[in-house]
Each structure stands twice: as structure tokens, then as C-alpha cells.
Symmetry: C2
Subunit: 415 residues, 2 copies
Amino acid sequence: MMPPRGAVGSCRRRRLAPLNEDNGRFLLLAALIAAYLSAGATVFSALESPSEAAAQLRWNRTLHNFSRIFNISLPELRAFLRSYEAAMAAGIRVDALRPRWDFPGAFYFVGTVVSTIGFGMTTPATVAGKVFLIVYGLFGCAGTILFFNLFLERIISLLAFIMKACYERQLRRSGLLPPNFRRGPAVSGVGSLVGWKPSVYHVMLILGIFAIALSCCASAMYTAVEGWNYVDSLYYCFVTFSTIGFGDLVSNQNAVYQHQGLYRFGNFMFILMGVCCIYSLFNVISIVIKQILNWVLKKFECRCCPKCRKSSTRLSRRNAITPGARLRRHNVAMDADGQYDSDTEGRRLSGEMISMRELTASSKVSLAILQKQLSETANGYPRNVCINTRQNGFSAGVGSLAIMNNRLAETSDSR
Amino acid sequence: MMPPRGAVGSCRRRRLAPLNEDNGRFLLLAALIAAYLSAGATVFSALESPSEAAAQLRWNRTLHNFSRIFNISLPELRAFLRSYEAAMAAGIRVDALRPRWDFPGAFYFVGTVVSTIGFGMTTPATVAGKVFLIVYGLFGCAGTILFFNLFLERIISLLAFIMKACYERQLRRSGLLPPNFRRGPAVSGVGSLVGWKPSVYHVMLILGIFAIALSCCASAMYTAVEGWNYVDSLYYCFVTFSTIGFGDLVSNQNAVYQHQGLYRFGNFMFILMGVCCIYSLFNVISIVIKQILNWVLKKFECRCCPKCRKSSTRLSRRNAITPGARLRRHNVAMDADGQYDSDTEGRRLSGEMISMRELTASSKVSLAILQKQLSETANGYPRNVCINTRQNGFSAGVGSLAIMNNRLAETSDSR
């Protein structure tokens, strides 16, 4: 393979800068997670160690008492308990549980598989079951990830629609928007809400409130039906909805309930809605975390690199978390620079503007040449690509699916 | 709120079409998942029911034998077993396990929380621990989702880079590419690889092979150290890497191992790499599932709607899964239509082309007017928005983060 040289070489250097920034962000996040884990481990260790010691003491006393009273040697008792452990692994408990592998039980099990909750209250014991699980889970989990992502897309669309309507109404009431306002091409200045997008903080707030309301309702149900205390129910809701699924508390496991059918339906609906809602909330929070990472990177890394400063200043206008920025953007009149709009199109536009500006050299702008030029810009010819790469980075997004959406042939046009 | 009328009204109708398609895809996926769950439940029920019955029988025999031999009444024995269940919930087993809540144990625990594996081998028992878990997990899981997404981004970038180099080399060997090929602006025709992207199927294949290789290596380690059989180890690897985390098998739980430090490190690295790899694989598979959904929708829904047929034919050129299409695209010479490139820029471009075409009415194309026109296109003024919406749909992607990336103000420019 021959390495490309000349113009392409300088382009590659320019291309490496954002790549290093991406790697930097990735490593920074990894370091922060490691620190977060260490801090969490310390806190949990402090909180739970006494309880663990007490439980160990309590169990030892029970074991020795039982051994003494019934005159059973400890090794015999241990062998018995080992066989009980094996029985528990097959889903057997002292107090009768629902059957593990009848159809509703198996349905609950596969539900915990594809959602990756994985309580473990039921697990396959046969070799055939384990092998089938691997194949089944592979496609099931992938399908469910797609489902969650499509749900996320739907809920964000819905929230954006509602919030836009509210914002428009608010603007109209305060007189900032003319009463005969339309989103037509005639209105080009103040109050054009076509490009308006809700703030990630507002979406996070709404999703958070919804998640809390849902958890509280679900907990009320679990407290009433399962007999857990309310904190345990809330803890169960979080552990389930976040798909952690420890399995220390599992709903709907007793053999008999009052209103069994109703409870099963309620349990299913709460888990489905909860998982979708918390997945969306996690993704929204992760965007905020990413903004914080960007802010930290900008703060600390660009001090070492004076060359970046200019472009970072440019970026700071876009990335900075300034609550009023969105409103101000909409109040200023349109300018040809296209920077007041903060969406990806706006950024791509500025790249195209530059290619357009180069055309001023020729006095007559032929439409054919213009189309060719634009087509070259869009197809990423080096000169323009470098500009785009530096400014856009991942203009097509950083999401799980969308990363591939711009990087893979088949996904570019798929919806 | 006044409903917009006239031109905007017709635009809204046009806008509704893709929205309905999105809802249709979402519902189709939900129905398919429900069918998949039912089928899975049936298979698991058939596979595991006999084993469950046998285990129940075995346990009953053990229980009654033990009761008879040591002359203990069943209620007394049940009370004892209930107290053992309570002890097990606190992480106590007959055979000594590692301490649950020392620092390494707590670190393992928080690792299973933020990754949403949630084995449940250790769970908080105190109220304070449970409340802290909710707060801790909320940000921990969000951070880890971001980490997985950034990893996905890195791995796809890396794979694309490697595959592009291989493809270039292959082209050069077969003589399709001139030996003095450069990605400079001078080369505008055959063999320009700048817009080249790897196929999702190739990426899926590579990730799949890597995941299998990783699982096999990890299983070999677990088989040797934990004493599980190989199928159990493979099953454990899948359950862990997919973050299902039943907890029926958990690595690194014994009190003492040979080469403890080395095993802990190996266990950590395998789980980290496995989880990242399987997460990426799931996302790639979910894109393929989405393509299948699109294909199904196109096949069945557009028959009912003759109006859609024209646009669907247009889409079929892009979405159809035709293995040779990519190669053919690169072999044809550049054309001004810009359709040979399948990425989002290509599609946005065609939207801009239309707005440009409208400009042919005016003989002199002033750069200022052109910029304004483009800026309007980019900012989504109704006439052009409708065209873009119909053609692009979610041109900015459907990924977890990227959905918001184009829909929220702060995320549009964040990286």
C-alpha cells in the first residue's frame, strides 16, 4: 500500500486532530467511570459491610443451633444445604412458587432475556436450553435494542411536538409572535419556529418526572400485591426498569395472587413502560454527560494547543451550555453566515458556503458548475472534507445506530 | 392555538406520511417481538419443563429422606431452609465465598450495576444502600451507555479504516484503480474511495467472529479456573457479555483462586471487552433487522397506497439489499445528480438540487441570493422541508443518541 502524500497528507494531519479529540473524550470518560466505580465501591462497602457481618453471624448461630438441637453433624447439614442450593438453581423454593417453565413462566423468562433484565429467577438447566438461549438471545436482544431506539425516537418526537406547541403559545401570549403567525416562507425573521428544538434539559426533566411518577405508581402496586415495603418496591422498580435485574426481588413469583390476570397485565405493562422510559432517560442523561466531557476537554486540552484556540472558540459558541442562547438565536434576524442555526444542516451549510465563496472568482456562476461543486462538497472531496471534518466531527450523530448510519453503505439511506 | 392552513397544511399532510411509516415500523417491530417471545417461550417450555419436574422430584425425595433420617418435622426443616434463603440473599453460601462487601467485592458489584449486568450475587440489604443504588445507578448507567456508544463509534471507525485500506489494495491489485491513485481533487472519476463505506454485513461478520473468538478464549479460562464445563462457560460468557446477567453462574466468587490477581484482571478485561463487543454486535444486527422491517413495510404497505409507489421506487434504489450495488456505484463515472453516493449528504444534496433548480428561472444567480436560498433550505423552510422530510426521513440517524442529536438544541452540535 502506498501512503498518500502531498495535499492528501496535510489533509490527513488535519483529520487526525478531531480523531485525537474523540479518543481523548473516550479515555476521559473511561477514567471518570473508573473513578466513579471506585467511589461507589467505597460507599457501598461502608454501607453494606456491617449488614453482611451481621447476616453472617446470624446464619452461623442458626446453623449451629439447628445442628445442636437435632444432633446433625455440620458436614451432613452442609451436604443437605448444598442439595437445596442445587434445587434453588432449578427455581425451587420452600414456599411454593409459580411453575417456572409453563408457558407464562417461560414467557416471563424470555422477556427478561431479550430486555437484558435477566433476573435469574428462572434459568435454563439443560445443555439444549443453554445453547438455544445463546442463539435466541442474540437476535432477541438486538431486536429489543432496535425497539428501544425506535421508542426513544417516538418519545422524543412527541415531546418535541408538544414542547414546540407550548413554546409557540407562550411566545404568542407574550406578544413576541404575531397573532397571524404562520410557518410559511414569507416569515423569515423573528419567531420562525421551524428550526426550533427542545432543550435536552427540558426533555430530561420531563422524562425524569415521568419515570418517577411511573415508579411510584408501580411501587404502590408492588407494595400492595407483593407485600414488600415501599422502599424495596422503589428499589425493585429501578433495578428492573434499568435492566440491571439483580433478582433478589422478583415480582409475580408466588403461586397464587388475588386478581392474578390483572396483576400479570399490570406487571407486564409497568415493566415495559418503565424499561422504555428509563432507557430514554439514560440516553438523555448520557448526552448531558457528553456535553460535560466536551466542556472539560475544551477547558483543559485546548490550553496546550494554541492552534486549536481559534476553532475551539468557534465551537464554544455552539457547545456552551448557555440557557438563554436558544431564545437569543431566534430573536436575531437571519444572517447569511448560517451560524445562528445550531443544527447539523447549519454546520454543513457553513462548509458549503466556503466552497461557494471560492466560486466568486468566476463572475458567471453556471448552475452546472455549481451543482458539480456542491456534489463534490457533499461527497467529501479532500479540500472540503477537511473543513467539514474539523467543523462537523460526527455531524451525523454519535448514537448507537447512527454512528453506523453514516459509516456503513447500507445504513446511510436506511431509516 | 391556531392551526396553520394553506401551504403549511398541505405540507403537514405530506409530513404525516413518513410519520405514519415510522409508527408502522415501530408497531411491526413490536408485533414481531411479541411473536418472537411467544415462539421462544414455547421452545424453552418444551426444553426445560422435564428438567424442572425432575429437579422438583429429586428435591422432594432429598427433603423427605432428610426429614425421616434425622427425625425432623417438615415445618421445622422448612423454617430452617427459609433462614438459609435469607442468608443466601445476603450472599452467604455453605461453601465459603469471597467477602461480598470488601473493596474488590463492592467494585465488582458496582461494575455489574453500571453495566446493567446485575448478576445479583451481591445486593444491597440496607435501606441506605438501596436508596444510594438508585441515585448511583442512574448516573452510572447513563455514563456507561455513553461509554458503549463511544466505543461503538471507535470500533466502527477502526473497522471502516481497515476495510477501506483492504478494499483499496484489492482494487489496485485487480487493476481497477490506477497505481498512482490519490484521493486528491484531481481524481474525480473511477475509483474515488473517499465516500466509500464498509457494508454493514461485513462489519457484522467481523464483529461476530471477534465476539466468538473472545467468548471461546474467555470460556477456556473459566473452564480451567472455575471448573465449569465448556458449554456452561460459553453460556456464562453470552449471558454476561449481553448484560443479561442471570447470576446462576458468576465468575470469581470463590474465596481462593490460584493466581488470584491475574484471574481477577483477566476476568475484568474479558467482561469489559465482551460487553463492548456484544453491544456493538447487537447494534449492528439491529440495523439489519431494521432493513428487514423496511423491506417488509415497503413490500406490504405501498401496495395499498398507489401514491407512494413513485417515491418508494425511488427509495428502493437506495434501500434495496443488492450486494453488487456498492461496487457498481463506484464504477460509474460521477454524475451531477449526486445519487450515486448513498450517504446522508448525498440525500440532502438532492433536496438542495431541487431548490437550486428553481433558481434557473432567474438568469443571473447572485451569490447572495444563492446563499440565502441554501440557508433557507438548511433551516428547513416549509417548501424545501417537505421535500427533505419525504426523502430523508431521519437523515440524521436513528441511533439512541443521534435521534436526539438532530432533535434537541444542545445536542445538534455536541460531539
